[in-house]
Symmetry: C2
Subunit: 424 residues, 2 copies
């Protein structure tokens, strides 16, 4: 396999012939996408972003990160929710490893839990830290409250220096966060108008925290750029994935998609996928409910109901083909656990056997459709490529469902109720 990302539909129960029935429709939608005539097309600037992005701004991000590190800032507190959170969190876990980074990049503003706030405060005690606050408007309650809270602490600790330890990623001109940044002289980076939250990982929204974590952000963009060149034709895997899901949902009555991974550094990638697909598709009573499982862990929890429960779902596995860490099973003299027959094998090879065993159990014996997406590795380039693959795919998917894949009107209702309650 020479590609960065390989799609295997052989276990999907949807034949090439079935998919081909939609070729005219795919072509029409393809034209809609690139002629920017589909619903919500004003939010498709991500299409050409990987080549069009402002190189100077990326340089400025890298410089600011360098400056903060030179200042001795050990921890970056990233304040954001939804797309202003999931992109960078999932990317950092994917590339750098979840446990490696959990004390260096801390995320806040994702809830109003006082227990969470208190725990973050403890992590920051006696450390030098800075804030990256991300909000287009500045009015989303959860991050706004968190920012107010932690800014006060940062100011108490650093006095007039605090403003240099704060970076705001926000609208270019408007909104309360932009106003606060101007007033207080924070460095700012722009949330572009033409790219919605769940597509914003490739903009400063995702790139700043990633850069602080040591991710080579230009390589992420290069990966996305590569995908934008390879997936801009009529016969590409992103469309094949979309049409397969569409058939599974509309013709075979599969209402849920279980994103399946075998490496816990991908747990947050599954959360990112849930937002991307759930928020893009879930409108007008349509859409596939996205679930996720982290294997082997969840084979010993949801495994039972997946194997023998009601089969209203299909699985989509993301498998990383290469693993940098070559840990091997060692020989044991006493062999009390009886595992010496595995000695010399790598954990990664064994993990592959787990995957093969599950695929066979779920697909062959359980009759569950399985889509397998194999990616090369956990590099920056692969991440950028994979993100773009899913961007293209969800766009096709949204238009197949005849909805606007780029809005999220249903998120407003709880906010309205909440603000009404708060103002009472």
């Amino acid at each position: 396999m020479s590609k960065i990302l390989n799609l295997d539909l052989g276990f999907s129960l949807v034949s090439k012939k079935d998919r081909e029935k939609y070729s005219k429709k795919i072509e029409d939608i393809h034209n809609l996408i690139y002629e920017k005539k589909g619903k919500g097309n004003e939010f498709t600037d991500w299409l050409s972003w990987p080549s069009d992005y402002d190189k100077k701004e990326v340089k400025k991000i890298e410089n600011k990160v360098k400056w903060m590190k030179n200042e001795g800032i050990e921890i970056l507190l990233v304040i954001g929710i939804g797309g202003s959170y999931l992109g960078s969190q999932s990317a950092i876990d994917f590339i750098k490893g979840k446990m490696n980074m959990q004390d260096k990049i801390i995320f806040a503003g994702i809830n109003v839990s006082s227990s969470h706030i208190k725990q973050i405060e403890k992590k920051l005690e006696n450390k030098k830290w800075g804030i990256c606050v991300i909000s287009k408007s500045g009015t989303t309650l959860e991050p706004a409250l968190s920012f107010r809270h932690f800014k006060k602490i940062l100011e108490k600790e650093n006095g007039s220096l605090a403003k240099d330890y704060i970076v705001a990623i926000t609208d270019e001109k408007n909104g309360s966060l932009k106003a606060a940044a101007t007033k207080n002289n924070y460095d700012t980076f722009v949330v572009p108008n033409g790219i919605g939250g769940r597509f914003s990982g490739i903009t400063p929204v995702g790139l700043f925290p990633m850069a602080f974590a040591g991710v080579d952000i230009k390589k992420v963009l290069a990966g996305a750029n590569k995908a934008s060149k390879e997936l801009n034709n009529l016969n590409n895997d992103a469309y094949e994935y979309a049409i397969t899901r569409f058939i599974l949902n509309s013709k075979m009555n599969k209402n849920s998609e279980i994103f399946t991974t075998y490496d816990f550094d991908l747990d947050m990638t599954s959360e990112w996928l849930k937002q991307l697909f759930g928020e893009s598709e879930g409108k007008d009573g349509k859409g596939i409910m996205p679930l996720s499982v982290s294997y082997s862990r969840d084979l010993h929890s949801l495994g039972q109901i997946i194997q023998e429960g009601k089969k209203t779902f299909f699985e989509t596995t993301i498998w990383i083909n290469n693993n940098k860490e070559k840990i091997k099973v060692e020989k044991d003299k006493l062999n009390l656990d009886g595992l010496n027959y595995l000695s010399g094998k790598t954990f990664h090879d064994i993990n592959k056997k787990v995957f093969d065993g599950v695929l066979s159990a779920h697909h062959k014996e359980g009759g569950i459709p399985n889509i397998v997406i194999t990616i090369n590795d956990n590099s920056e380039e692969t991440l950028g490529y994979m993100w773009y693959f899913f961007f293209i795919s969800v766009t096709m998917s949204g238009y197949l469902l005849e909805i606007n894949p780029f809005n999220q009107p249903g998120v407003e209702l709880y906010k309205k109720n909440m603000f009404d309650n708060l103002k009472k």
Copy 2:
């Protein structure tokens, strides 16, 4: 509300009258349960465990923990999967806080990810640590491989002392882990025969790691005991919850249950619930697929599809009524974020408004059935009570579905395939 746990079915769309139609059935099953005549009744020793448990063994757990701490052991590496993982992990997060404990109790054996193994190794570097390995048989591949791997490292670091830094929780007599423990002289605690993995949090399986984390384990058992006295009658909330879910599933075609929480320390409680319900119910093409969301975070990801997608699910919220941390919104001179109208309010009060806003948006405007379980606090007693509540409930639920709630035949298939592949 004077009770530890309060069930509110007012938003469930299932009326008391509908529930009462099942009163005869409930009574029959109730008798089956307590006369130990239902399917799988040989695994219902948890029913009386909270009063019957071996007090000496609990004392022995506490003493061993004390000894390890005196030895300067800072980190406990807990190796287990499924029920040998989710009970203690969820309890520790719930009571002690997820971020507070993530570097003190580290869980391994939940996958075969070499990247995960490597990250754990880094966390253990230059620390004094011990192992708690949990497996009834010792043959489950994931924990067995992890134990082999980390035991070698521990032995390299501590020589002949290593055996005292290892605790094995395993079968009383049989299995490869028991044999290894005897041979190597590890301290052992018993996985009881009559209590399955997902019910084992109240046994040494859950209690040892919890005790190391500083949880008062006798109070957990006391909470479970209180529940066992209050929920052993015909008209109890655990049965009401079970029958409501049953009606939502069988009469109203709700195939999924979304466990909803508003405090990230409950994320793993949701995972625990997924195992308890998914593994108990998901058989013979039956069962409700359990999902979970962590709010506010997921209001900005799955929120859209929950609000406006296909309504094939209901929500069950676990709300913690009291929060120890009384963090308040502070006044800000400039008020650039416009949030001064909230100053003086606690984060917990605001979180409650989020919850109220969601409940109204999802239930009233979205037509989604909602079950609300309010618990007093995040104390040991509450946890024990809540666990037992769900134990009773899932037992009733399994029998309503006419399946054996205590086995998990579907977990074997992937294992068989995997071992076949490995032995090739």
